[in-house]
Symmetry: none
Subunit: 288 residues, 2 copies
């Protein structure tokens, strides 16, 4: 994944993924307009979806949108009430009206009903997109919370809202940095080189020979192991870096059995087989 991230924020929390992606629904009928707009949106990496007909508030909610672009001309006389209804019901949604020539009164009316911006066609697609982004940006400041969904891997649950990971409800007591690294790793399905990890967490280039990442991985593994002994999460790729993937622990059981007989389930299916190829048998060194 490109993992764009235009941010230059060196500070903590830098680990957040591309949650900033624009999710847009478009209610318009001009094919040419849609086409040129699509091109720009694709280039931007935005997710968008054309709507054939006005969708009710509930439907819009289900789409988890950031913004709605609408041409009032498509709606006809009912457009105003639709606009009002949507704006009232989804105050967190950025609503941008982009329609043909209009009177000041109409524009005023639209804005008063709750639209965030009114752009007159014909317009330059780039500008329109900027307007949409500006609106979304503004809205986003208010709605940060929803951006942080917690996720689970194997037995652990990662909670960005608490800066913490849990196993069966109990905290792993991760420190801020430990959490950031775990969060970063768990968010990528591939091997991350040390330099990459360092750069994204610390915000600047890793000095040659710096072992910080190793040390943190060790601490992480330690905490993960003691909380979830039967799973291994962080795998070492010799000469490369680390990869996150929940897997049932040591099948070979080189562990002196200390009571609880490891539920040896050779070749047992992964409880949370993480989709595709994130489980290639890599010569995994020590893990956790």
């Amino acid at each position: 994944m490109s993992s764009e991230r235009s941010e230059t924020l060196p500070g903590p929390g830098a680990a957040q993924r591309g949650q900033n992606r624009l999710r847009l629904a478009i209610l318009d009928r001009d094919p040419g307009f849609m086409q040129v707009l699509s091109k720009r949106l694709d280039a931007l990496g935005a997710e968008y979806r054309p709507l054939a007909a006005p969708l009710g508030a509930d439907g819009l909610v289900a789409m988890r949108l950031n913004a709605l672009l609408v041409d009032l001309a498509v709606l006809g006389p009912t457009g105003w009430s639709y606009l009002e209804q949507v704006c009232a019901r989804l105050p967190g949604l950025a609503v941008i009206v982009c329609t043909g020539p209009s009177s000041v009164a109409q524009r005023v009316r639209g804005l008063r009903l709750g639209a965030d911006a009114w752009v007159t066609k014909p317009c330059h697609p780039e500008e329109l997109i900027c307007v949409i982004e500006a609106s979304v940006r503004r809205h986003r400041r208010a709605e940060m919370p929803a951006l942080e969904a917690s996720s689970s891997f194997g037995e652990i649950t990662i909670r960005p809202d608490l800066y913490q990971a849990h196993v069966h409800g109990v905290s792993l007591e991760l420190t801020a940095r430990e959490f950031e690294i775990l969060h970063l790793l768990s968010g990528s399905d591939r091997v991350l080189r040390r330099e990459e990890i360092y750069e994204r967490i610390w915000g600047y280039a890793m000095a040659h020979g710096d072992r910080s990442v190793d040390v943190f991985v060790r601490k992480l593994r330690q905490k993960l192991r003691s909380a979830s002994p039967e799973w291994s999460y962080i795998h070492t790729h010799f000469g490369v870096g680390y990869r996150f993937a929940p897997e049932r622990a040591g099948a070979g059981a080189d562990e002196p059995v200390d009571g609880a007989p490891v539920l040896t389930d050779p070749a047992g299916e992964l409880v949370v087989a993480p989709a595709d190829g994130r489980s290639q048998p890599v010569h995994t060194g020590v893990t956790a």
Copy 2:
């Protein structure tokens, strides 16, 4: 920071601070434009102030504005950097550019730098005001919602309508800022980073090294503790920020019992377990 508050605080309780009023600064030089705009703004009951010259971020902060209307033409070439600087430093301020004819590239640039809207002169004053209001409205949504319902956590009751918190009916005598912070914290059940708190309370970006939030949290804890000793409300997440969650105080009871035998209920259920998962035991540093 000049804490200046020109507010028209009516009474001591200073319930709602005229938050709903538009507070606008205008950086423009067209007398005719200013005059016609003034008329509309007066009719609207808005507070506004013309600026003779670009005012630094700190100056703008001191004015406690909702919005800034600026004509890039009066700034000349430095306008762009000024715009960028202001938008970066005051993320909560709605910035509307209203200037003469411009190219798409210029408008795009302005919006990308953080402007919320770009209106081209000549324009209808009513429409301009609607655009300003739309921009401000978005920002305001974040703070408006809870301004009404009072809520309780543990032993304290938070009353937005009185700008005060109570325990068993007696006021905590919180100052305005203390209350705002408590209100903000109690309103979100997740860890809030200091920068986040600062930005939402003070309205602009926190300077590096600013300890204000810490100090206020300390004052809050002090008052909370003396009014509700057996509960801890504000938890520190080292290296991250603070989180609000009512919890029974020190279970370990390292306190020499001083009379009232604490209803020791080891592992007892929280009296007011606030719904879902906001009560996971997180490695809480010092609390209150």
